[in-house]
Symmetry: C2
Subunit: 390 residues, 2 copies
């Protein structure tokens, strides 16, 4: 397998100490060593979720499994749910809710933008009495469009409406400040293979105190993803089912590094990389797909010029340069490329990948002033670099 | 973490090359390398399931997730299901089926025994017309009791009844001959962390052709575990959701070793270890929990003498000797110890652990002739060892 640089929005490049940690010998998942490991990891995830009150549970699944857990434990047949999709993963939340019989109403937002807090507020106010929403489904960061919501504003718009709020932060958490308690969210879901830069296989679900009562009255079927069972076992330092021990080891090692670096510098790194990639694209005359004020810090979506096949560019980048980037999903297939900022990537990696991108664009017939993209990215790094370089 | 020997029935000790394989760098789960990996692993699992016709799908979950996938895709509200539990994991299958609204009828079997084929046949014949069973739930190997079913006989008893047969072989597959096609099973479930000796995180589900049609008419809700979606993505060399790439790497490496050794020698090794452990227990005057003819090859359950606390023995073995064995689950808690044969364990490991067990039993007040257990195990190894020692 030739060396390649992963710039897809997950799975991301995993740092060597984390990979090494995943290869530790197996232990009894019902023994004292795993208990200590599980409790340590759950405790250290809490500040990343921005919570003291919520319980953090680990599920052996991808992020999608975590989303199913959130929805199927909280909502069921006939529950009126307001979904606020801003891309493919928001639509996935809708599909999950409909699978479990929910009556889903959709607040539409143009792809590339974040949800408008006023539109959300108006939608909630229009749904009174019988029509009141039992739940609201939000996406923090949407990798399919390179956009993210301003969750603080949405939290303010939601406040007081009484609905339970489920937030998909699979590709957002740990890459920017997140305040679950302050924002009043009930369940927040993330996964190992995104900003935490651990191999995939683990979903982490934070559950606020008032969510537990709701689950008692919800009859939607769930077994593997039963969060109350997960909580009962977590109280013993266990999981109900055999957990992916290797990935938990990896998460523990990744949290070491996260804490050593400090959250603020981790957030800054993601924001800086995203800014550099956007600056590069703009200098090359390309259009950023996400709207101003809604740019994701974990992935940048860039429109390729009309007549150019985005997927052909991706293939050339992968085959000739070992640089792996994302393409468009759903209705954006072939129209955009997506460059992630998560994982064990240095500024050097980013600059190299952007240079490779320039060559691939030129080869594909895009007219550009070669080097201008990398130059713009370099300027961002020089202007924003912290005194002690990351 | 001090060195310890894992004799629990999963997760098991993983061989060094497999651990190393799990620590390989991440790749794009939608790229050509993962496609080749996924297709290679699925193809190599087929002979282990004893199938040419079935499709083998990989799910990012524990074995329990695979069981939920099997049940929720095949059966739903009001379906009459015959469950044939022989221990805790058979009861888990019942709980899953009831969660999804199935009308579950239970064929009771004394714990420690396998299902009686004639009793099964009679039960099926008594359920005619409207009362006909839509499905049958079987356990291949039951780690909670150290027993296993004679699946060939059960398959013969079932033949022609028309019901769809779901088999939990989480702790059985790869440790003995399995013939899915010949036995006419519709879905067989296994997991990575058992006889294949890979870290946990992956369920492997084999689905026979006629099962797919059944799924079209089944309305039970499933999203993460939707097997048709898994099949659609498998056709592209992908999984619907981000897979636990590290564990798939590990499975690939474990299959290298499995094929190098050859299935027959792998089966013989499990059977020989189980026989040696049983011989040891019997020489020490202890009772094997499983009935004659129903002994598991992957785990031996041993009753501790009345008045002796099995869990105290386990704790001493773990703390003083680094030997980790299982205890009783459910109604057997405190009454039995369970010693697994799966994983990267040598005969030396087995002999060492049995010696340590003798000391722990003596310390706990069990009257025994020290060394007689290990002696009996040694005899089994000497009598049954293949010319080229494993």
């Amino acid at each position: 397998m030739s060396k390649s640089l992963l710039f897809i929005p997950g799975p991301v490049t995993v740092a060597e100490p984390v990979l090494t940690a995943t290869a530790q010998p197996m232990i009894d998942h019902r023994g004292p060593e795993f208990k200590a490991l599980l409790e340590r990891v759950a405790r250290r995830m809490k500040p990343i979720f921005g919570t003291e009150r919520a319980e953090v549970l680990l599920l052996g699944s991808s992020g999608t499994g975590g989303l199913e857990a959130a929805v199927a434990n909280m909502f069921g047949a006939g529950d009126r749910i307001l979904a606020c999709p801003i891309g493919v993963f928001g639509e996935r939340l809708i599909a999950i809710a409909r699978t479990f019989g929910c009556d889903v109403d959709v607040l539409e937002t143009a792809w590339g933008s974040g949800v408008d807090p006023q539109a959300l507020r108006a939608k909630l106010e229009s749904a009174a009495g019988e029509r009141r929403y039992a739940g609201i489904l939000l996406t923090h960061n949407e990798t399919s469009t390179g956009s993210q919501n301003d969750l603080a504003s949405l939290a303010a718009a939601i406040r007081g409406c009484g609905a339970y709020v489920v937030v998909d932060s699979v590709s957002g958490l740990a890459a920017s400040d997140f305040r679950m308690d302050e924002w009043g969210f009930d369940i927040v879901v993330t996964a190992s293979q995104k900003a935490l830069a651990v191999p995939p296989g683990l979903a982490m679900v934070a559950v606020a105190p008032r969510a537990w009562e709701r689950m008692d009255s919800n009859r939607a079927p769930r077994y593997y993803f039963d969060l109350k069972k997960a909580r009962d076992f977590a109280a013993l330092g266990q999981t109900p089912w055999t957990p992916p021990v290797s990935i938990v080891y990896g998460l523990d090692a990744a949290l070491d590094e996260f804490e050593r670096t400090g959250p603020r510098r981790v957030w800054e790194r993601h924001a800086r990389y995203a800014r550099a990639i956007r600056a590069c694209a703009e200098a090359l005359g390309l259009e950023i797909f996400s709207a101003e004020g809604a740019h994701s810090v974990t992935v940048v979506a860039i429109r390729v010029p009309a007549g150019i096949d985005a997927d052909a560019i991706r293939k050339r980048l992968r085959d000739d340069r070992g640089v792996v980037i994302g393409g468009g999903q759903g209705k954006l297939k072939g129209q955009i490329i997506r460059i992630g900022t998560m994982g064990d990537l240095s500024q050097t990696d980013v600059l190299g990948a952007l240079g490779a991108l320039e060559i691939a664009l030129l080869d594909a017939g895009v007219s550009l002033h070669i080097g201008s993209g990398v130059q713009a990215a370099l300027r961002v790094f020089l202007e924003t670099e912290a005194p002690a370089a990351v």
